[in-house]
Symmetry: C2
Subunit: 313 residues, 2 copies
């Protein structure tokens, strides 16, 4: 059961020949959730071999070009690839207004539906859930309405102990109920309590994406105990003034948020092109928070289960 | 005096991790003329070290996404780089209608002017000229209104012979007039005819860009004797049916056009992703026309002067 995030692009507004504008893809059991869609996202998806057909949801944090200019190209490519499945785009309502005239002009013969889900970046709210995942908005502080996204795996089933299945000769049809928490009643009427038959489920995993934003502690309660926090750090603290002016964060501020939120790991990204040595971001953040990584294109961050149990079923 | 074309992208509609949608840049004496602007053009411009500030004209052949989805990103980047110079975009009138709402939303604070020049893809007409270059439209045959562009260097000045300047002690202020064709009158009243003082100018160079199009001989008179012809070849002739259905050309057809037009060189591009081995395009075209190259990203095609003379001034 994979739960990993791949960095497709993580530069700030100005891309370079190696660094792309913001886009990430979260892989949850081989379903791919796209987060932001800067120019060239489809090229990066190919490069890192993400299956286009497994993307059904796109989450757009805000309507600056470096977070959404890749959408039209991706939508067209989906069409050329013969897509039939609905595509769900979660974004500020303005996106639909901007994209619709382009769809009408460039994609008249689209064979699949695009469904826009209007989100309010100012509120912390569940905007999507499926069998395995729940996604909620994280209000951020930027020049235009912006939110991050918290991806939380859903509570799974308990693990049944194989040796107990063998010992009690539990029939197959009873297994699912026991995984869900039921006791087992033997043919003789003996009640075997659930906690003798099972081990607790795996702890649900979580990922928080927070870009772009000025330092804001208001997000801490929402992301507390997240396994991985991606937090933008456009600047170093020597350029705090610039960060304030442009409503971005420094590596130091991102680390303070990670520390306060007791995050498992902090990924820094959205670096300004003014810096040549990105290691400085890691060094600066590590003064405050220990587990820091840099969001470089192609980087894959896996979140393993914390309490993996080997169960028979 | 450079006259060269750099391929930024030359795949057909579906980009891959290495191959970008259509964009090329023509370098005429270090002024850069952008031709089409598929997604990722700005990334390719960086990769091939084209100076953004030297691009003042963009020519868009037609309004399919793979020829223009990179425009908004490039316009935004120009703005972030502090551009103040006007940007001229030559395209079908619909482009302005599509781009304007996006400019209003994403680029409210643009510090430079964008001037749209509406072109009629159905007519062969000069749409731009400056000191060094003249650009005219080449009507093409495609599913939407489409034209190619013929770039022709302007007639230059004659070359003055250094030994004649020395012999007659021609004063500096007379040089420009003689280069333009004037005779020289010595202080004694002797008339020295221009053809004794000069050698003919360099032959003006030319480049024709023809994408996307079905086979159409109507373009031959417009591009006759062009130094380099870029002609799309989306398909091989084994897929002639597909070429016809989609109003594209085969490598064979592109070569026939090059042969009929007596082009100096043929560059093939816009290959469908269905083919793995692009050399097949070259082989097929070479059966008809000798001087064939493939448009691969990063390829630079120089057009040297045919009659270079070393002149003193």
């Amino acid at each position: 059961m994979t739960f990993s995030v791949t960095i497709l692009g993580s530069n700030s507004a100005l891309p370079t020949s190696e660094r792309y504008p913001t886009a990430q893809v979260l892989n949850v059991s081989e379903r791919f959730y796209l987060i932001d869609c800067g120019e060239g996202t489809q090229i990066q998806l190919r490069k890192y071999k993400v299956k286009f057909s497994k993307i059904n949801q796109i989450f757009i944090s805000h309507l600056h070009g470096d977070h959404c200019f890749g959408l039209m190209g991706l939508i067209s490519t989906f069409s050329l690839l013969g897509r039939k499945t609905d595509l769900h785009i979660f974004a500020h309502p303005d996106l639909e207004k901007i994209v619709n005239p382009q769809l009408e002009y460039f994609c008249k013969d689209l064979q699949y539906k695009i469904i826009f889900h209007h989100i309010n970046p100012k509120e912390n709210k569940v905007i999507f859930d499926d069998k395995q995942l729940e996604v909620s908005t994280i209000p951020l502080k930027h020049r235009v309405p912006t939110c991050g996204f918290l991806f939380k795996e859903k509570k799974g089933l308990n693990h049944i102990k194989k040796e107990m299945v063998d010992f009690y000769q539990i029939p197959f049809k009873k297994i699912h109920g026991i995984k869900k928490g039921e006791d087992y009643i033997t043919p003789n009427g003996e009640i075997i309590p659930n906690n003798r038959l099972t081990l607790p489920e795996n702890k649900p995993r979580s990922y928080a994406f927070c870009s772009d934003t000025a330092y804001t502690e208001s997000i801490v309660p929402i992301i507390t105990n997240v396994d991985i926090l991606y937090h933008e750090s456009t600047f170093l603290k020597t350029d705090q003034k610039l960060a304030n002016q442009t409503t971005h964060s420094t590596a130091n501020q991102a680390a303070v948020i990670a520390e306060k939120a007791k995050a498992g790991k902090l990924i820094l990204g959205h670096f300004s092109t003014r810096y040549r040595d990105f290691k400085l971001f890691k060094t600066e953040a590590e003064e405050v928070f220990k587990n820091v990584e840099l969001a470089i294109e192609g980087g894959v961050f896996h979140i393993p289960y914390k309490n993996i149990r080997l169960a028979g079923y």
